[in-house]
């Protein structure tokens, strides 16, 4: 019996609700309906009075969670899609993120952002907003890439006394399976070597970890050993693990699904360039999605985001150097 990435998110919320009466869930269509993606399936029935359907009011959803957190609650807010957090943006970056620093009052709010592209989702149901939130002080941004991390990092997020933006990738919901959720391996803030190698390092996160692994397989046929680092959380970013990997391989490709200006890949490359300049045998490279909104039609969507083919091509250039 195996468990999917989506089921792991559901199970983690089940556990969180079971372990701590202070936990409650607030979001659109998450009670009876179990959420647009069924990430809260049956939780309303299993935990009566602790799972709430919200009006379509993202600003107030986050505001309500913040006020509840001040009173010691540990709410989990589900955004129906990450893209809609744009209308909850202010409460997240200016209210939740500043509360502890301003008033010494912890703000243990977890905000789930169903993120990333899937075929046919279009410009407003596909966004990856981790860089937007990571830019603001006062937030922790996690980006699980595995079933195990989806589970353990969500549980840990709920326990963190600071606001956590939990970016779950919709592309992994159903496809990604594991035999079980395993045991907690790493805490938030530590990256993971998803695949050891010696010729080049790909530093990435979320769904792109799997594209990178496939590209690494492809290059393995040519005899290259590509190391893949899964950041797990983009803020904090585990720079030590990144630098250690680059020290081994001397080559860096920063890979992400978000828009190309700024963002996680720029942060990765600039950290390595600043702190491990002499470990680099080749100029560090970046690969992101294109600088346009995310297209609806699969023909365009597939070309908008990095793919195994473009990642492999980038790696070949990096290795050829």
């Amino acid at each position: 019996m195996s468990i999917t990435y989506l089921e792991a998110i559901r199970e983690a919320q089940y556990e969180a609700l079971r372990n701590d009466p202070k936990v409650f869930l607030y979001g659109q269509d998450i009670d009876t309906f179990g959420g647009a993606f069924k990430a809260t399936k049956n939780l309303g029935r299993e935990f009566p009075g602790r799972v709430f359907d919200s009006p379509i009011s993202e600003d107030a959803m986050v505001g309500l969670a913040i006020g509840a957190a001040v009173e010691g609650a540990r709410p989990i807010v589900e955004m129906q899609f990450a893209d809609f957090s744009s209308v909850g943006f202010n409460q997240i970056v200016n209210q939740a993120a500043t509360l502890y620093w301003r008033t010494n009052t912890p703000c243990p709010v977890t905000i789930r952002l169903p993120s990333g592209g899937t075929a046919g989702s279009g410009p407003f149901h596909s966004q990856s907003m981790e860089a937007i939130y990571a830019h603001y002080p006062g937030l922790v941004i996690v980006t699980p890439a595995t079933v195990e991390d989806a589970y353990w990092m969500l549980l840990e997020s709920v326990q963190v006394d600071d606001p956590v933006i939990y970016c779950e990738h919709k592309f992994l919901y159903y496809h990604l399976k594991s035999d079980d959720i395993g045991s907690r391996e790493l805490p938030i803030g530590k990256a993971r070597i998803a695949r050891p190698g010696r010729d080049a390092t790909v530093v990435t996160y979320s769904a792109m970890v799997h594209e990178a692994l496939r590209a690494a397989d492809e290059l393995h046929l040519d005899g290259y050993q590509i190391e893949v680092v899964d950041l797990r959380s983009v803020k904090p970013m585990d720079t030590d693990t990144i630098l250690a990997s680059v020290a081994r391989t001397g080559r860096l490709l920063a890979l992400g699904e978000a828009f190309p200006w700024g963002g996680v890949t720029a942060e990765i490359v600039s950290r390595v360039a600043s702190e491990a300049f002499h470990l680099l045998d080749a100029p560090p490279m970046r690969l992101n999605s294109k600088d346009t909104p995310i297209p609806y039609h699969p023909n365009l969507w597939k070309a908008h985001r990095p793919t195994v083919a473009t990642i492999a091509a980038a790696l070949r250039n990096l290795l050829r150097y």
Binding site: I56, A119, G122, T292
Partner: protein, 359 residues
């Protein structure tokens, strides 16, 4: 009137419509009723086809969102609008209103199928379509955000002196009224005294969420007074009533009455999308008074008035089916987007575009 080809038997009525100033109130009402009904039929048939294509799988990627049951409310507003001279910001369930406003059904089919020939060129899909320069806005997903945009277009026309008796109309659902964007937009429209009609289709659910979890007022029309705008309610399953209420609202907006809020009550007769069986809607509601199908209600009226007999209705549906099949057949042969032909630029000013570190 519809850009789609118009069934022969309606040409006359259509003309009556377009010259309605002279026509008698009764003839005028009859004409609009028949015209709206025609759009409702075409909309229903088109959406049934889309649903079928969705179930068949393969061709339609992403969701399909139907206006089933909301055709009367949507079309009744659409027939009041003059393409170009009036502005229209349709939302999720406005296929009938789109047809009535004059959006060719090819725009719909091409957008659902992602054809490059469509207005969205495969870049956006399904209900996220429009031709702003022709007066019909392309909604983004974020609910409520069109209210201020349509208001802004009216505002600019008034500034430029080109507004004349033009109006703008946009739709929202019971759920969308809970957004800050809806509130800010309608309040601003009221402050600017713009000729904006906001049609609120209260179909009892926002996706799976019942109105009890969406608002606490008696009726959403109770909000009109708080904005200082005119408010009206209507049984949205009754085309005749819808035509009346929108006729009044649009007239009032045209003649300086400021923003108008029209709240229609009905039940969503489909899932939120075709992926959704709406099993959360209790039988009581499914069988309740709100669950009347506006199309049957309209057909009953047609028969009662003797305006259209069963054969005519059958012909009309057949005609609509032919039109829809033609459109689908045509679009199915059209080219899909080609990533190598895309310019991949979000800016109109190519010289200001960046294109680094991309896939």
């Amino acid at each position: 009137m519809a850009g789609s080809l118009v069934p022969r038997l309606f040409v006359a009525l259509t003309e009556t419509h377009s010259t309605r100033a002279e026509a008698s109130p009764q003839a005028d009402f009859r004409a609009r009723f028949l015209l709206a009904y025609q759009h409702m039929v075409l909309s229903r048939v088109l959406e049934e086809k889309l649903a079928a294509l969705y179930r068949a799988g393969g061709r339609i990627v992403g969701g399909v969102y139907l206006g089933r049951g909301q055709e009367a409310f949507s079309a009744a507003l659409g027939v009041q609008l003059r393409k170009g001279r009036d502005l229209y910001g349709p939302l999720i369930r406005d296929q009938a209103g789109r047809i009535a406003y004059g959006e060719p059904i090819l725009d719909c089919v091409r957008t659902y199928l992602g054809a490059v020939s469509g207005p969205m060129r495969g870049r956006d899909g399904n209900i996220h379509r429009g031709r702003p320069k022709e007066g019909i806005f392309a909604m983004i997903s974020h609910l409520g955000s069109l209210v201020s945009v349509v208001s802004g277009a009216l505002f600019a026309r008034r500034l430029a002196g080109t507004l004349q008796d033009g109006v703008g109309a946009t739709s929202i659902g019971d759920g969308g009224t809970s957004t800050g964007a809806f509130h800010e937009g309608l309040n601003m429209a009221a402050v600017e005294k713009l000729p904006l009609i906001v049609s609120v289709a209260n179909n009892q659910y926002a996706y799976s969420t019942p109105t009890t979890r969406q608002y606490a007022c008696e009726n959403l029309v109770d909000r009109a007074a708080g904005y200082g705008v005119a408010g009206a309610t209507v049984d949205a399953t009754d085309l005749a009533a819808c035509l009346e209420v929108f006729d009044k609202a649009v007239r009032s907006a045209r003649t300086g009455g400021g923003p108008q809020m029209v709240v229609g009550t009905l039940l969503r007769l489909s899932g939120h999308g075709e992926h959704d069986d709406a099993s959360y809607i209790p039988d009581a509601k499914r069988k309740g008074s709100l669950s009347r199908d506006c199309l049957s209600v309209a057909e009953q009226r047609l028969r009662d008035e003797g305006w259209l007999d069963a054969d005519a209705v059958r012909d009309l549906r057949a005609e609509a089916r032919r039109e829809v099949d033609l459109a689908v057949a045509k679009v199915t042969k059209e080219p899909l987007p080609d990533p190598f032909k895309e310019n991949w630029q979000a800016l109109s000013r190519a010289d200001l575009a960046e294109g680094r570190y991309e896939a």
